[in-house]
Subunit: 138 residues, 3 copies
Amino acid sequence: MIAQKYFQLSTHGRGSTNITAEVERIVAASGIRTGLCHVFVEHTSASLMLCENADPSVRRDLEYFLAQLAPDGDPAYEHSMEGPDDMAAHLRTILTHSDLTIPVRDGCCALGTWQGVFLLEHRTHPHQRRITVTVQGE
Amino acid sequence: MIAQKYFQLSTHGRGSTNITAEVERIVAASGIRTGLCHVFVEHTSASLMLCENADPSVRRDLEYFLAQLAPDGDPAYEHSMEGPDDMAAHLRTILTHSDLTIPVRDGCCALGTWQGVFLLEHRTHPHQRRITVTVQGE
Amino acid sequence: MIAQKYFQLSTHGRGSTNITAEVERIVAASGIRTGLCHVFVEHTSASLMLCENADPSVRRDLEYFLAQLAPDGDPAYEHSMEGPDDMAAHLRTILTHSDLTIPVRDGCCALGTWQGVFLLEHRTHPHQRRITVTVQGE
């Protein structure tokens, strides 16, 4: 059995959004009890991660870390057509994940207690982001 | 056909453990000859990687690299409830992989000669880690 | 339904090659309309990424970024048997992706407009690289 759905998300600019509930809804609606759930973001300046879901300071520290690692507006970047966050957004995407696959067990995502699925918006301005979820199994 | 199993691993604190044999055993037991093998770690401070499997100095150099990239105890981190390695462990997890998918060919993981599947423990103290393996195919 | 094929690529040394067309050809030949396409590189010093496919300056800036992040010939590296690019190539591989999974919709990879699938060669000398593509679905 295969179920494939997508949903859209309006981001408020750079930051993370917990999308675990949306993903779980698609898994539940698929009727699949055992298998895999694949999450995919169709963009090159937004990405996905599994991250600690309880303490928001983890995601503030991550932002501090990424801002140092791949700073906006590095004068060495050639690709800056869309602004100082343009190339940094591509780098943040490549260093994290465009796709995640999660086991499905007993009809739910078999995530650990502290794991949440997050969309990362890497541009400073709000964007509309499209996420495709594919569930395969039985 | 789908087979889903998990196993647990006791780590000795920060470092890497080659889990290729455990993964291969689950693939062999599934009876699946052609398909995909998905490996998933249910934690936010342990992760997975495919890495050179012959020379342990690769993994020592990786540790040197990660310790510089995401140092323990950065005073800028807010999230330090569980100690100086807490936030660094989350960052190391996000920069590597919570899940890996490997082709199954002729009933085995179709890894390259030098590729091994490794669990990375990012906390300095020993932990119990749970890994789910899902094999899909025919 | 499952289709599994591989192809080989001769790289010209460090740099990126757009392999989207090769992957799409395997998806089209599989006859699968809805499902997932998995791409895997069987090496520890070459990797995969989804990246902006229109402006080559993105990939030049990525090279600048990776050269700073994981420089060749760091005297602290123990693993340098095959030259100053040996350990740096392993680090670049671990920080990017050995496998990617892309949704298949209407018989094609459901990539975003700006997403291309790229092989990254991390060694400075040309290499022969093997890529396995597995398509599952219906």
